[in-house]
Structure formats: structure tokens, C-alpha cells
Symmetry: C2
Amino acid sequence: MSDLLERLRERGWRLTSQRRVVAEVLDGEHVHLTADEVHARAAERLPEISRATVYNTLGELVTLGEVIEVSTDGRAKRYDPNAHHPHQHLVCTGCGAIRDVHPLGDPLADLPAEQRFGFAVSGAEVTYRGLCPACAG
Amino acid sequence: MSDLLERLRERGWRLTSQRRVVAEVLDGEHVHLTADEVHARAAERLPEISRATVYNTLGELVTLGEVIEVSTDGRAKRYDPNAHHPHQHLVCTGCGAIRDVHPLGDPLADLPAEQRFGFAVSGAEVTYRGLCPACAG
DNA sequence: TCCTACGATGGACGGAATCCAAGTCAAGAA
DNA sequence: TTCTTGACTTGGATTCCGTCCATCGTAGGA
């Protein structure tokens, strides 16, 4: 966490209280929060923080590669602070719960050159779907 | 195509001109259209078709498994008529262009039991990302 | 041909995210 | 320490995407 703030300062970030609080919220809970949830938790510590600032800060963290944007359904994007540990996501088709998972192998290796159509392929995201134990009842 | 209309009729669909036009638009171009693009193309043939009807029909086609809903960015969902041929997607990080691709192997096989956390995993979607030849310039 | 339940309509509505002009403040300069 | 300035924040308006709903229309069976 202090690592994150350090890295941000090194990249020329102005360390405002708003940015600090957003970064702390993300670091505090390794879950997948929506922008509004981040805003709500941030507002507990800094009541007047605006939604626009939360969106701005999240966007900057994504650009810097410190946070990953996840959109597993058509609804609000979620923000995953676990950006430095490659992983994929397992999503419950019932309740929408998300778990980080670590599949074997590298999905990129499964895409042969003739299936790349000249693209400079740089990454792959895998979303596994299924019913979680709670929803399977 | 006529196959599709046949299948729909067999499932008790009332064959309205609106549904016919939407189905024909999807079948006509094997690209990944947004709902608004489907509406625009449908309106060329049936000017008074409403957006609500296009959304309804697309939703029904998805439920019936005739069309797949794809959301590769946080923007509008896209509709993929190629539902009967399993495939994944390759998305240009520059212009957003989408290609169907066929990777080797089965992503489900790469998720070991201890990484399933009790979920009844039923499927996996893979999104490859990279710059397309045009955007790479 | 007539009936009627299913489907279409379009305008209002809602959630998510972005935009913008005005105000504020972090942090380097003096 | 204070000053200065451009980067940052604010919140309300706006856009985009999609859904809802009351009303109207019509496909297709009787």
C-alpha cells in the first residue's frame, strides 16, 4: 500500500487526500468493488469526495497498471487491485460473485499465429462462469 | 437463415415483420453489431421499428441461444449471430474491431478442481487483445 | 371474418459514466 | 514561511445504453 503511494509519487502524482483515500480503499479490501462502492467507502473517511474524482482516480490507476478494470456483466465495471498477480476470474451466474482464479497454462499459447490475423496480440482475459455453492443450494 | 425463422416458428414464436427483419439483419452480416446498429439497419427496411422492439427481440434470441451477447469493452453490448460455432474473440485495443478466433484446446480443461471453489463451472469466455494491422500502422 | 392474447410502440425512466466551468490546493520557488 | 501556479476537485448537466410501461396493433387460430 505505502508501496503504491510511493510508486504514484515517483510517477509525478500530486498526492491529494482524495487520491490517498481511493488508493487505501482499493488496497484495504481485495474484493472487486464498483466505482460507486469505492466512492461510498471513500466517503466514510472523506465525506465530501465527489464521484467524478473517484472515476478520475480509478481511471488513472488503471492507466498506470496499478488496478485492473473488470466488466463481467453488462452492469457497472469493477476494479481489481490485484493487478501485479496475473489471474483470471470465476463469476457466479446466479449472484454475480467474483473470485480470482489461477488456471494452468497460458491462454496466449493457445492462439496459433494463423489465428492472429496480423494482430500484435498482447493479452488474454478468461472469464469462467458457473453456479457458486451458495446459489447451487 | 430460413433455418433460423423455422426454428423460431417451431418454438412458438409469432412471426412479425419486425422480428423477421431483426433476424435477417443479424444473419445478413456476420459482424458484431450493437443494438443501435441493428436498429439502424432494421429501420432501413422497416422505418417505424422501435428500439424497444429491437432490444426485446435481441434478448429473446439470446435466451433461445441463437445469438451471443458480447461485451468486450464497457460500452454497448454487441450481438454475435455465430452462436452455433463455438469460438472466442480477438479485439483491437486501438479501434475496437472484433474478430472471431478459434484457439487450440479447451480453457475449461485449464481450471483444476481446486481452483473451482465448489462452483459448477459451465463455460469460459476468452478475450484476446492486441493492435490490429491497420492500427499498428 | 372475427377475437384475443401476444407483440410493437415511443416516451419516460434509470443506472453508469463523462464532461465542463469554476473553485481549491499541493508542492516547488523565492 | 509565504507565494504562485498549474494540477486537481467539485457537482451539476449531459450523454450513452438499456429497461419499463400503458396503450395500440396484429398474427394466426377458431
